[in-house]
Amino acid sequence: MASSSKRDDLSGVTIYEALKERGFSRRDFLSFCTLITATLALPSTFVSKVAEALERRKKPVLVWLEFQDCAGNTEALLRASKPTVGEIVLDILSVEYHETIMAAAGHQAEKSLMDVVKNQKGRYIAVVEGSVPMGDGGVYCCVGGRAAKETVKEVCGNAMATLAVGTCAAYGGLPAASPNPTGAVGVTQAVPGVPVVNLPGCPVNVENITATVVHFLTFGSLPPLDSRGRPLFAYGKRIHDNCERRAHFDAGQFVRQWGDEGHRKGWCLYEMGCKGPETFKNCPTVKYNEGTSWPVQAGHGCIGCAEPAFWDRMAPFYRRLPQPPGFGVESTADKVGAGLAAVTGAALVAHGIGRILSGGKKKEEERR
């Protein structure tokens, strides 16, 4: 933390110098830059620009606020199986305040936070995890005797930018699920008008936090956002469109019961209630835990955790979506799948390889 002498020694150095100090080679550094450039959906020609920025830029000061949270996003940040370069980059940001990991407690902790707000006004990054309860004067979340709704106003209001990590901080999330007993809201609603990047997900994907910070350091601006305040590089595409099981959807091959033949073979989870067709996030490519896996790869449908109010809109989680958007008025997944298979079949016939597919399709029809 800020109080350690090691950290103080590093405070004036650039990110690349700090990485070198931690034993990272030039090669490690450049592969990190390549990974982040890819996550940002930038062409590979930008790798050198990202590298140049990280060689040049000083570490920004960062404060991490926790309100109505489960620390799941903190865990996602801290629980990598080995220290990754991404983790180190976040670690070597000057994290001046983070309740779960900081050494100071009580009024000393609160003093570090207020020192940043006062001395680094307009120059620090605020990260918020958890929703802000507005009900009953804000009594449902108090830190240091102060209501979250007051703290968030002061800290985010004076920050250079705020990252709302996780669906709770972005849109209210679980505490805001019906009947929203505490009047929970996301940061944008709690502090209207301040620059906020929403990084929803339950939990957030750490690569997306890192990429947002790196974008900021490289270009000096926040990444382009969609209408829900989410960076397009991470939330611009539907899960369904990039899903590793998409071919099974198109072929009409669905899991119909947990543990059935289709489930064992890794077929499409749409019939089991997968919300991939209505959810926008880069899970299929970035995944979790250093690209190890993500829910669909593990055999469970997407629950739509990156979408506003998903706890109400996407539940019950095991109910099949009545009608996936973008597929017209077909009433069942079978029709959608078979219809798409027919279209795909026609396209493949045109390429002269139709026979193989039509054989497969016939079998599929016989099976039904």
Partner: protein, 59 residues
């Protein structure tokens, strides 16, 4: 007699406030408060039981 309050308690998951009454250099009484409430029990009411794990595991 003095009363001290440590809030927030850090390096834990969740929000905690500890107040302690000190007499002659010793803690003679103490109070712990959980300073955050979400009402997950209320949110769970009336939902599909198969979804309960997803809500409850976020505690």
């Amino acid at each position: 007699m003095a009363k001290i309050a440590i809030d927030p308690i850090t390096r834990i998951e969740g929000h905690l406030r500890i107040e302690a009454k000190i007499e002659g250099g010793k803690v003679v009484d103490a109070w712990a408060s959980s300073t955050m409430f979400r009402g997950i029990e209320l949110i769970l009411e009336g939902r599909d039981p198969r979804d309960a794990w997803a809500f409850a595991q976020r505690i």
